[in-house]
């Protein structure tokens, strides 16, 4: 892809792809647990609640194949990961059965965000500090945290799907 990725160390993209797959697996387990333990299985039943809680989705426009520009894509990827890391943190106290899965997912997202951030720095991209901090939703009941978990998990999976396609495109020899 136009030598876009030539400026990247060879293993960086392979590691990113592996990290995306790991986060997707963690995310799937979170959704599976929320369904089994709390009968919250369908994100489409929580759209209304999502609006009222203000759970936003992270944009990844500059990673779509038409407008793929490496540093913009990586910057947007980092901002999105940073947003999801904060959203996952806001879900703390979701429920004893779900907490271990949520903690691992959050660690993996933070891990991936750090990786992308450091690669941007190594590429000499001057970042003005952590991305804009949009306000986090406040969950006032256990149910809202669990419903929030379903919505954030579902949004994160779609975000990662886009990211995976872009990274795989960049990783093509």
């Amino acid at each position: 892809p136009l030598g876009l990725a030539s400026s990247l160390p060879p293993s960086f993209l392979l590691k990113c792809l592996e990290q995306v797959r790991k986060i997707q697996a963690d995310g799937a387990q979170l959704q599976e647990r929320l369904c089994a333990t709390h009968k919250l299985c369908h994100p489409e039943e929580l759209v209304l609640l999502g609006h009222s809680l203000g759970i936003s989705q992270a944009p990844l426009g500059s990673c779509s194949s038409q407008a793929l520009e490496l540093t913009n894509c990586l910057s947007q990827l980092h901002s999105g990961l940073f947003l999801y890391q904060r959203l996952l943190q806001a879900l703390a106290g979701i429920s004893p059965e779900i907490t271990p899965t949520l903690d691992l997912l959050q660690l993996d997202v933070a891990d991936f965000a750090t990786n992308v951030w450091q690669q941007l720095e190594d590429l000499g991209v001057t970042l003005t500090g952590p991305p804009t901090q949009s306000p986090m939703p406040t969950f006032i009941s256990a149910f809202q945290r669990r419903a929030g978990g379903v919505l954030v998990g579902s949004n994160l999976q779609s975000f990662l799907e886009l990211a995976y396609r872009a990274l795989r495109y960049l990783a093509q020899p």
Binding site: H38, K39, L40, E44, E45, L46, V47, L48, L49, H51, S52, I140, S141, F143, Q144, R146, A147
Partner: protein
């Protein structure tokens, strides 16, 4: 917050009724509050929700489930929104019974680990998280009056036994003790026991050993065995009596018993046995004349009586 379920009490008697109401605040104007509120218990819709507009403009549905037969269930409040159903709130119902009275409270004083070990039967499952506590106190008389409280003994989760360390006990003074069971639907107490810990001492099994027949003097008597035994050193300070049981190894013969016997003997001659037969012998001891519990039987010793 757009929808909120409120319950009379989230803890319900199993099989009993539960009434819940789901209120949609008028701050959810974008919900065009003509929609229908629906109820689900786990994943099944529940008919019978009575819906009304409240003076403050909010919308409320109230439902009564006559008999809740789930020990744990999710109750969800839905709103029909366009052609989709939206969950507005969900609450977890827990149903069970008040805790049954614990029974068969039984205690033993173990001098090896220096603790009073008590166990009990918790009774049928109340389906609710239930905490058991062993409550005890030192008492002069027959435990009607409390002399000095003893700290509560909390068993490990799910266990029906607890050990009170020696430092809280006066071994020769009465202790009043009972088990308390407590869950969100109530508390119950086992009958109280009143005893001096030392009177429930259970000794470690004694040590029983075979002896070679008398080397000098009379030839080995056929149908006789020579034994010696002593109880554990840690309990030698206790006056005890013991009993010996024996039976031919293979025969389906019931045990024969020799009692009472002293707690230590250097040389005991057991006769009247079948010659040339393999016998199994065991010994146990009990505090005596003061009260106590029988020790377990000692590990069995296998001996053969001599030929005719």
């Amino acid at each position: 917050e757009c929808g909120h379920i409120s319950l009379s009490d989230p803890i319900i008697h199993l099989g009993g009724p539960v009434t819940a109401s789901c209120t949609i605040g008028q701050n959810c104007r974008h919900l065009k509050l003509q929609s229908e509120i629906l109820w689900k218990l786990e994943s099944e819709f529940q008919p019978g929700g009575r819906q009304q507009h409240l003076p403050d403009g909010s919308l409320e549905s109230t439902i009564t489930l006559p008999h809740l037969n789930h020990t744990q269930a999710h109750l969800s409040c839905y709103l029909r929104w366009g052609n989709s159903l939206q969950i507005l709130d969900q609450t977890e119902l827990q149903a069970g019974y008040p805790p049954p009275k614990p029974y068969n409270l039984f205690c033993l004083m173990n001098l090896t680990i220096n603790s009073l070990i008590c166990q009990w039967e918790p009774g049928p499952d109340s389906h609710l998280p239930t905490n058991y506590t062993l409550k005890s106190f030192q008492s002069r008389g027959n435990c009607q009056t409390q002399e000095k409280p003893i700290p509560d003994c909390i068993p490990a989760a799910g266990q029906s036994h607890c050990s009170i360390p020696r430092k809280y006990l006066l071994l020769y003074q009465n202790i009043g003790i009972r088990v308390q069971a407590e869950n969100k639907l109530g508390t119950s107490l086992s009958p109280q026991l009143c005893f001096a810990p030392m009177d429930l001492v259970k000794l470690e099994p004694p040590i029983l050993k075979a002896l070679a027949p008398r080397p000098e003097g009379d030839p080995a008597q056929p149908g006789c065995l020579w034994l010696h035994w002593h109880s554990q050193n840690s309990t030698l300070f206790i006056k005890q009596k013991c009993e010996l049981r024996y039976q031919p190894h293979l025969a389906e013969v019931s045990w024969a018993l020799v009692a009472p016997l002293p707690s230590r003997i250097l040389r005991h001659e057991l006769c009247g046995l079948l010659p040339a037969t393999a016998y199994i012998l065991q010994l146990r001891c009990i505090r005596s004349p003061l009260p106590g519990h029988w020790s377990d039987w000692s590990p069995s010793v296998e001996l053969n009586t001599t030929e005719q």
